[in-house]
Subunit: 359 residues, 2 copies
């Protein structure tokens, strides 16, 4: 079967991205469009986290000031501050989702949740208001229960099943799935449960981050068979599985270096190269024909944000094989280096509906 030399994708949407704040946000927010994306579903784990409507709207205004051409869908950080009344205010203000971080499992998750029952009134309000619950699906490590970063996601799945049983109309997204167990679980659940998959988890296995801090993120990439499960569900074109890059910029210094007493930062940064990279990876496992579904229509359908007729289309063509620069972007505390640095991507963005917008 011959492969195309150009592909076009309607209005790509990244349903999980970290745009940070302050000077780092100035550098990385522009990379959403550079990476080919029109919509960014923005994570709330700032310092302090975004826990109410005012903070979310202020944050959205800051992002819009940096790049007004991207649609920012905002989220709140699930915490005891979040009440059903606040959910109703947030929904009226256009805030789309609530992100749950189990305590202490990833970047800025110190305020994360310890048990879900206390939040049932919040979830009931979200269900009524049509808001989406975004789950970082890992439980904290515990030597007593043999739980560590490798099985923290499968150990979370009973919580997902229970939440879905309790709130069957609540739309829930299991974020950045990394295991066959998670893929099978989401497939087994109803149409209100979806799943994001990152670009880097389509590329990496545990061997790639063992000793390579640039590839270290939470959840960690798992076994080859787990990666194969991600490939299979993308190749199948399953409509409840779609891209959420979890693109997470960290200053290069904190990625490159560990001291004996301080590990490196957890996160992989993909925004600036995202659409070409996803095309490259999907082609590598024979799923290039599923690109538009995976990066646009599936997620947009789940979130009720379908592609509009006049939305921009992004055109990719086969690339010359130039490697992604290892120099990265920014400097000092804003110096970030993307994933795939030093390696070639088989596709590049050549055209959009409004060319002059491209930085």
């Amino acid at each position: 079967m011959s492969q195309p030399d150009t592909i076009s994708v309607a209005s790509p949407a990244d349903f999980h991205v970290h745009l940070r704040q302050g000077p780092l946000a100035e550098v990385v927010t522009k990379h959403v469009r550079q990476g080919g994306f029109s919509l960014a579903y923005v994570m709330p784990n700032l310092k302090p986290p975004i826990t109410n409507t005012e903070q979310a709207l202020l944050y959205r205004a800051q992002l819009q000031a940096i790049d007004p051409a991207v649609e920012y869908l905002m989220t709140l950080y699930l915490s005891p501050e979040l009440t059903p009344a606040e959910i109703r205010r947030a929904a009226r203000a256009g805030i789309v989702g609530v992100k749950s971080y189990p305590r202490g499992v990833t970047t800025n998750s110190e305020g994360g949740i310890e048990s879900y029952e206390a939040y049932y009134p919040v979830f009931a309000a979200m269900e009524e208001e049509g808001m989406v619950l975004n789950l970082h699906g890992e439980v904290p490590s515990s030597a007593e229960t043999n739980t560590c970063v490798l099985n923290a996601e499968p150990a979370f799945l009973p919580h997902l099943r229970k939440l879905h049983a309790q709130f069957p109309r609540l739309r829930i997204v299991l974020e950045h799935a990394t295991t066959r167990a998670a893929v099978e679980c989401v497939k087994s659940l109803g149409d209100t449960v979806a799943c994001t998959i990152t670009a880097h988890h389509l590329a990496l296995t545990v061997d790639d981050w063992a000793g390579q801090s640039w590839h270290f993120c939470k959840p960690v990439a798992k076994y080859p068979d787990d990666r194969a499960a991600l490939w299979e569900v993308v190749k199948e074109g399953h409509p409840r599985f779609f891209l959420g890059s979890d693109s997470a910029p960290h200053p290069a210094e904190t990625k490159a270096t560990a001291s004996p007493t301080q590990p490196c930062a957890a996160g992989v940064y993909t925004s600036p190269i995202l659409l070409p990279l996803v095309a490259h990876l999907l082609e590598s496992f024979g799923a290039l024909d599923k690109l538009e579904g995976f990066v646009s229509t599936h997620g947009r359908a789940f979130y009720g944000r379908p592609v509009a007729e006049n939305d921009r289309r992004v055109v990719l063509k086969r690339a010359s094989g130039k490697a992604v620069g290892i120099e990265g972007y920014g400097s000092g505390p804003t110096h970030v280096v993307p994933f795939w640095a030093g390696k070639a991507i088989g596709w590049e963005i050549v055209e959009e509906s409004s060319r002059e917008e491209i930085s």
Copy 2:
């Protein structure tokens, strides 16, 4: 049960240590005694590897010149150069073992073996001569078979079983076991099969090296339940399980730093703090009474090097809680920083049979 405030150990022996060569050897070889050890079973993975008797004797002479007070037991690197005739020469020259590295799984293993059948004549000669086969028990990763650094050791165990069945009188040591599967396998085999355990694998699980390059080594530390299996077999005082530190110094620069295109070095350095650290760790899981067996008598019995009446004893006392310095030793390409840097060890060496030898 009250715990003692001093312990003495007869002639501690480290049955797996990397002493390197050149300027780095000058720094680290002295740390064998500093760490409380009288005997070092020396790995042959230099550049180029030690593959014949002359090289091994030359290397031993170099190590003796640096610190003559340690007994160095030498090994050869299993490779096509190694013939039955060379085995007989090596045995006559006092060389004790042959180390097998599967190709490409750890530091300087590019020349490692791909299949064992070709070496059966060598193993037959070793069996006759009473030499020991030391196995790095991991298979190379392969996405096709879902093999990665996490299950590379269990996947190796059938090779161990087969070798033992084929050469039941050949003494074999499965080096640096990290999994419950490996512990159970070795226990199930005959008295000619033993197993070393490192200090750091008694401390670490996968969570500790995820994003922390200083804790990255091969084999990687595994699940909490795997560590528990190591604790259990040490606590049991099983005579075929004993310390082989796999202390592996790497320049601090190569441990601390990864570039997007270059991972960090694999290895954990424990020599300078080894005996106090092992006492500390054994006490943490209730096995302090097994210290002498684990660090001296079990391994010495297996290797036929029992403690002699006039051998030195090392006395440990409870320590003041001073942290291991993060500054390390050496400088530039010889700058090495030990494991446990920045953390306190509950024991310290206070006395040996010949005090003036202590650096």
